[in-house]
C-alpha cells in the first residue's frame, strides 16, 4: 500500500532528524547536525534490506517516489519564500562577503574532485 512507503519515509526522516538534533545538542550547538544525511543513509539501508526480503512492492515504492518527484516543486516554493529583497538591497558588504567566497569555492571543486577520484573510476 502507498501509505507504507510514505510511513517508511516518515520513519527514516524522524529517526535521522532526531539523531541530528541530539548530536547538535551533544556538541553544544544550536543546530541540527546532519539530520537529513542520517535519514538518507537510513532510508538506503532499510530500503535495500526490505528489497532483499522481497517486501517492497511497487505501491510501497510509489509512496516514496511521489515525494521524490515533488522535490523540485518544493524547492521552487522554497525559492519563492527566501528573503531575496534583503539580499539585493543590503549593500556591498553582504553582496561581496556572500558572493566572493562562493566564486572562490567554485574553483576549488575541480581540484578536489580530481585529487580524490574514487579508484574504480580511473
Amino acid at each position: 500500500m502507498v501509505i507504507y512507503g510514505v510511513a517508511l519515509l516518515a520513519f527514516c526522516y524522524l529517526v535521522g532528524q532526531i539523531f541530528g538534533e541530539y548530536l547538535g545538542s551533544w556538541l553544544g550547538v544550536e543546530a541540527n547536525v546532519g539530520g537529513v544525511g542520517f535519514a538518507m543513509l537510513l532510508l538506503i539501508v532499510v530500503n535495500s534490506w526490505l528489497e532483499k526480503q522481497g517486501k517492497l512492492d511497487s505501491l510501497t515504492q510509489s509512496g516514496i517516489q511521489f515525494w521524490n518527484q515533488m522535490y523540485i516543486p518544493i524547492i521552487v516554493a522554497m525559492a519563492s519564500t527566501q528573503n531575496v529583497k534583503l539580499a539585493v538591497s543590503s549593500g556591498a558588504v553582504a553582496v561581496l562577503a556572500g558572493a566572493l567566497p562562493v566564486l572562490l569555492c567554485y574553483f576549488t571543486i575541480p581540484y578536489l574532485t580530481k585529487a580524490f577520484k574514487p579508484s574504480t573510476e580511473q
Binding site: 519515509l9 526522516y13 541530528g20 521552487v76 516554493a77 558588504v93 556572500g98 566572493l100 566564486l103
Partner: protein
C-alpha cells in the same frame, strides 16, 4: 473579494500546489520555446521563484518572500523546512550507497575547506569594508558560511543586531548566488557526477542554494550534494563561535 481571499488563505497549502504547478508549466514553456532548452526547466522555475520572492518582499516589506502575501502563505508551508527535508530524504531512494561511501572522505575534507574559505574570505571582505572588531568580523564571516551560522554565531559572541542582520543578508546572498550560478558553471567545474556533487555539497554547504543549484543542474545529483551539505551548518555553528572566534580575537 473578501470571501475569496479568506478562502484562499484557509486553503493555503492546496493553493500553493496549484501556484507552483502553474509556475513550473510556464517555466517549462519558457525553457523549451524561448531558451531552446539551453537553461533547464527547474533552473527557470527556481529563478521565477526567486523573482517572486523579491516581488513579495517589495510589496509587503516582510522577510518570507511571496509567503508574506496572505493568500499565498501556503508557499511558506510547501517550501518550509519540513516538506523540503522530507522530499530531500526521499531522493536517497535510488541513490547508490557505494558511491557515497567512496566519496565519504573527500566529502568530509570539502566540508572543512568550504567552511574555512567562506569564513575567512567573508571576514576579509568585512575587514576591507571597515569592520575591525573581532565580534563583527567573526559574525559576518560566519554569515558567509550560511544564513543560519551567522546569527547563531553572532548571538553566541554578543554581536549587535545590525551586524547579525548583515550576516543573515550575507548568507542569503550566498544561497542566491549558488542557486543561480551553479547550473551555468556546472560544465566548467566538472559537476556532472555523484562524486563531484558530494564535493560541491560540502564546499558550498548552504542547503537551499546547494539543493536548488543541483536540482537546476541535474536532479539525479541532488541526494549526493544534500548528503554532505547537511553537515555544513552544524559544523559551522560548532567552529565559528569557538575556534574561529578565538583565532580572530588573538589576531585583531
Amino acid at each position: 473579494m473578501e470571501i475569496l481571499l479568506k478562502f484562499l488563505e484557509k486553503n493555503g497549502l492546496v493553493v500553493a500546489f496549484l501556484v507552483v504547478g502553474i509556475l513550473i508549466m510556464v517555466a517549462d514553456r519558457v525553457s523549451k520555446r524561448l531558451l531552446f532548452s539551453k537553461i533547464p526547466t527547474p533552473a527557470v522555475a527556481i529563478i521565477f521563484g526567486l523573482v517572486l520572492a523579491y516581488v513579495g518582499g517589495v510589496i509587503t516589506g516582510g522577510e518570507k518572500g511571496i509567503a508574506d502575501v496572505k493568500f499565498l502563505a501556503g508557499m511558506g508551508q510547501l517550501g518550509g523546512s519540513m516538506f523540503r527535508d522530507f522530499a530531500i530524504v526521499s531522493t536517497a531512494f535510488g541513490a547508490s550507497i557505494l558511491l557515497m561511501r567512496k566519496s565519504g572522505l573527500v566529502g568530509a575534507i570539502s566540508l572543512m575547506i568550504g567552511i574555512v574559505v567562506a569564513f575567512f574570505v567573508g571576514l576579509s571582505v568585512a575587514w576591507v569594508m571597515g569592520y575591525h572588531d573581532a565580534v563583527s568580523l567573526t559574525t559576518i564571516g560566519a554569515g558567509a558560511c550560511t544564513y543560519i551560522v551567522g546569527p547563531v554565531t553572532g548571538a553566541a559572541i554578543g554581536a549587535s543586531s545590525e551586524v547579525i542582520a548583515l550576516s543573515i543578508a550575507t548568507g542569503v546572498v550566498k544561497a542566491t548566488v549558488v542557486a543561480i550560478a551553479t547550473p551555468l558553471l556546472a560544465k566548467r567545474i566538472g559537476l556532472d557526477n555523484p562524486h563531484a556533487a558530494m564535493v560541491f555539497g560540502g564546499i558550498m554547504g548552504t542547503n537551499a542554494g546547494v539543493m536548488a543549484g543541483l536540482a537546476a543542474t541535474d536532479p539525479k545529483l541532488v541526494p549526493y550534494g544534500a548528503l554532505t551539505a547537511t553537515f555544513y551548518t552544524g559544523l559551522g555553528c560548532l567552529l565559528c563561535p569557538s575556534v574561529f572566534y578565538l583565532i580572530i580575537r588573538t589576531i585583531v
